[in-house]
């Protein structure tokens, strides 16, 4: 079977998918990155291959997410694209007439507005934790309730407790206060979902037209309480696509397919067992100017002392930047 591989590596989660020629998902992996993107990709590829019921002839590979460049080098990607484009592409694939994409992941959140199938506006939050999944993760451990159970519990609440605060720290102290004065747990849990939705809409989506059809994706969409809170706040129906937690990977596979379809190039994919290579990460200080940047480099072990340097980054200028030229020209 011919297929396309998409890989999305963020700081919190790493996800991978294989799409067949008809752009259907045939296998997917969602796992934690745990601060080790290369290991996460290597392990993810092995797991992904194990899931395949028949061998897949990979025709193109896409990489996205904050570690997209690194991932692109390690696996040999044909398309290295930003995660906003990837998420928009995937959302449109799931729902062709989508107008608004709400995406909340563990590390960041986005809103993307589309019109006639193309993105016309977006915003991304990478700074404020109160607008991302880590907000709920944090509160769930405070409450001692596993995050997986959050959604179910939130759905049993008649209404949510008013959890005040635009910022995670305030929300937390308010939550503890509500607990102490005896608010039922399910109302607190739902209140937290509402607080996250409120933060998201007031900060990230401020000034954007949230028009239907609305698609809600990203890891946090697993939480039904979030869907409910969005629907109540927006007074509109919100759809969660089947593969909501691997949409970035799907988008990047779709982008790879598009790029490959217009060239005669063959893929740069190094195989599911690019996991077998040993990589060495090292760093050094650049002394060429007062910025004194720390430059990080990744080399593939090839017996030599330094190895074959595959990628370098970290400078404020591009003096050392090394991106694989083969894919820039793809």
């Amino acid at each position: 079977m011919d297929g396309y591989l998409g890989i999305d590596v963020g700081s919190v989660s790493t996800n991978l998918v294989v799409l067949d020629e008809n752009e259907e998902v045939v296998a997917k992996i969602y796992r934690r990155t745990q601060g080790k993107p290369i290991e996460a990709v290597q392990a993810g590829l092995t797991e992904l291959e194990d899931l395949l019921t028949e061998p897949v002839n990979v025709l193109g590979v896409g990489a996205t997410g904050s570690a997209r460049h690194l991932t692109g080098v390690v696996v040999g990607a044909d398309a290295v694209r930003n995660e906003i484009t990837a998420h928009a592409m995937a959302a449109r694939h799931a729902q062709p007439d989508v107008r608004t994409v709400l995406e909340i992941g563990g590390q960041d959140s986005k809103v993307i507005v589309l019109q006639d199938g193309i993105p016309i506006d977006f915003a991304m939050n990478t700074v404020c934790a109160a607008g991302t999944g880590s907000f709920l993760d944090h509160q769930s451990s405070r409450l001692g309730i596993p995050i997986e159970e959050f959604g179910g519990i939130a759905m049993t609440a008649e209404r949510g407790s008013q959890i005040a605060g635009r910022c995670g720290v305030f929300a937390e102290s308010d939550m503890i206060h509500k607990q102490q004065v005896g608010h039922p747990t399910n109302e607190i849990v739902y209140g937290l979902c509402q607080a996250l939705v409120r933060n998201y809409l007031n900060n990230l989506a401020k000034g954007k037209d949230i028009l239907a059809p609305i698609v809600f994706q990203g890891g946090v969409a697993a939480n039904e309480g979030m869907k409910r809170a969005f629907e109540e706040a927006l007074e509109q129906e919100v759809t969660i696509p089947e593969h909501f937690n691997v949409m970035g990977a799907i988008g990047s596979a779709l982008l790879a397919k598009r790029i490959m379809s217009r060239t005669d190039n063959t893929t740069h994919f190094k195989g599911f067992h690019s996991a077998d290579f040993e990589y060495k990460t090292s760093s050094f200080g650049c002394a060429a100017c007062a910025n004194s940047c720390e430059i990080i480099q990744i080399a593939q072990e090839d017996g030599s002392e330094k190895g074959d340097v595959l990628a370098r980054w970290g400078g404020r200028c591009d003096k050392w930047d090394l991106a694989p030229t083969s894919i820039t020209q793809a």
């Binding site: 990607a77 977006f122 598009r258 007062a290 910025n291």
Partner: protein, 380 residues
Amino acid sequence: MAKPSERVITIPRMGTLQLMLEDMFARLDVKYIMPPPSTAKTLEVGVRHSPEFSCLPLKVTLGNFIEAIEAGADTCLMAGGCGPCRFGYYAQVQKEITKDLGYDVDWIVLEPPKKGFISFLRTFKKMAPHRSIRYIWRQVLISFEKARHYDSIEKRLLHNRAYELEVGASEKAYTEAIDILRPAVSKEEIAELAEVALKHMDESVAMDKTKDVLKVGIVGEFFMLLEPVVNFDIEKWLGERGVMVDRAVYTTDWIAPSLANQVGGLSKEEVSKYADKYLSHTVGGDGQQTIAHTVLYVEEGFDGIVHLMPFTCMPETIAKSILPKVSKDLDIPLLTLVVDEQTGKAGFITRLEAMLDMMWARRAAKAGHDDWIPAGAGTH
């Protein structure tokens, strides 16, 4: 403190300001030390000693002053200002900070001429006490005229870079063009060499003028636009990805917004003409200009607008709240990037990449096909 005749003056770094003042100081026989180029360290030093909620430009320029003082400067020349915006207080705040840090330096604050032309001239006299006011004024005018040309050369760089066949060629030509103009002294020489320099920009670089490029206008707070250390050298980044860039303000436009021959800026009348529908009064800083330039870029057929502003900047926050309406009304992609000392390059670039994809997708859609990726691109 330094005796007036022995002063070693320094200035903050910002765009081509330093080229202009180097020229002016040489004409007036004023000793100076330019601060070293702004780096992450400059920012760090500035941030460490500034009030937390002050604006980013104040922090960066404070870093410049401290680095220059450490290098031997004893007199700081800073612009003043008036109006509702905080810029007018920068010099005062920075003066207090350097004093608290134990630096024994003089401050010369250059207030805009509209606050009083005589005192404006006297400030120059303070720097060059051995020169007559008449002589000083003549030299200042010539120097300013030369600076206009420096800015035009920079503008040419922003326009040409998108078309270069070899990455970095236009930038190299730019450095050479500046060197061509630098020795010019008289008005005639300036006019003549400026022309040679511009020609050099166009002719010494191999370009493909038939290339399909995107046109992006950059608007916002002037310091963010002029100083690469705070905008991650956005113009270069865009230019190297085939984007023709135009910028709302150049150094001399900011210095003298009311004079003719603006390089990129707009006159007061033009600002109201373009901005009035959305914002009919000035909000301090460059807020109204931001709106005006956005509207004008749309009229000129640009593909998108990037709006740069420092975190907590009041005038630009007002502009930011109005821009979505402008963007919607005029159907133009717009990206606001808010920067502070914690802003990381990665997130900044990710948003720009998405913006580029968005503009290409629109272009393609207008031409009747569905393609999100520019021809020839696999990655950014």
